[in-house]
């Protein structure tokens, strides 16, 4: 089975899985885990969006 993901979808799936692991392993309480996981996810996806716009600006 093969499938194609767009750049953005691939980045979001990556961010979701990585931030789940980071959240669980890097914090002690459930609340802190959720907060840190969400923080990592926002940074991953936000970083992708910022980098995309930076590349667009460089090209234009």
């Amino acid at each position: 089975m093969t499938f194609d993901l767009s750049h953005f979808t691939a980045a979001v799936v990556f961010a979701a899985c990585a931030s789940t692991v980071f959240g669980i392993t890097q914090r002690n309480t459930t609340r802190e885990m959720l907060r840190y996981g969400a923080y990592c996810f926002a940074l991953f996806v936000g970083g992708v969006i910022v980098a995309s716009w930076a590349m667009w600006l460089i090209k234009h």
Partner: protein, 142 residues
């Protein structure tokens, strides 16, 4: 007299508890490496184990689905060696993929390169999970 017996029984229980904790410090990270999440399951962290297992499985199989490459043991290019080190972090998933001849890679598809990275990162995330299982076993974390 009864007090002495209680103390002895308490000391014995503490000793057997220490032995159990001692063996768990080896078993938990090893189990967590072999099967993602298992190190947490055997310490009764069911939800955490399940989430870690899902995260690693999704990354690994999404990588294979994107026709990513699974590195074999090699002594060639440094990045290939590091790719192997990352991949083997997935434990049994890696050995199954190698045995089934999955992960041949496809240089004609751009998304296959993402797949290769997904598989490497799945292994690295699993190593972090195994270390977390060890921290739980030694009591550093709840």
């Amino acid at each position: 007299m009864a007090n002495v017996q209680n103390t002895t029984a308490g000391a014995r229980a503490a000793k057997s508890g220490d032995a159990a904790t001692g063996s768990m410090t080896i078993i938990a990270p090893l189990a967590g490496w072999l099967l993602p999440g298992l190190g947490h399951f055997i310490q009764r962290r069911w939800i955490r184990g399940l989430l870690l297992m899902l995260a690693v499985f999704i990354m690994f199989f999404a990588g294979l689905g994107m026709q990513g490459k699974v590195y074999g043991f090699n002594t060639g290019d440094l990045l290939d060696i590091l790719g192997f080190v990352g991949d083997i972090g997935s434990g049994l998933l890696y050995f199954i993929a190698r045995a089934m001849d999955w992960g041949a890679g496809n240089i004609q598809r751009a998304v296959a390169d993402y797949g290769t990275k997904y598989i490497v990162v799945a292994g690295l995330l699993n190593i972090i999970s195994a270390v977390d299982a060890y921290h739980i076993a030694i009591g550093k974390k709840q």
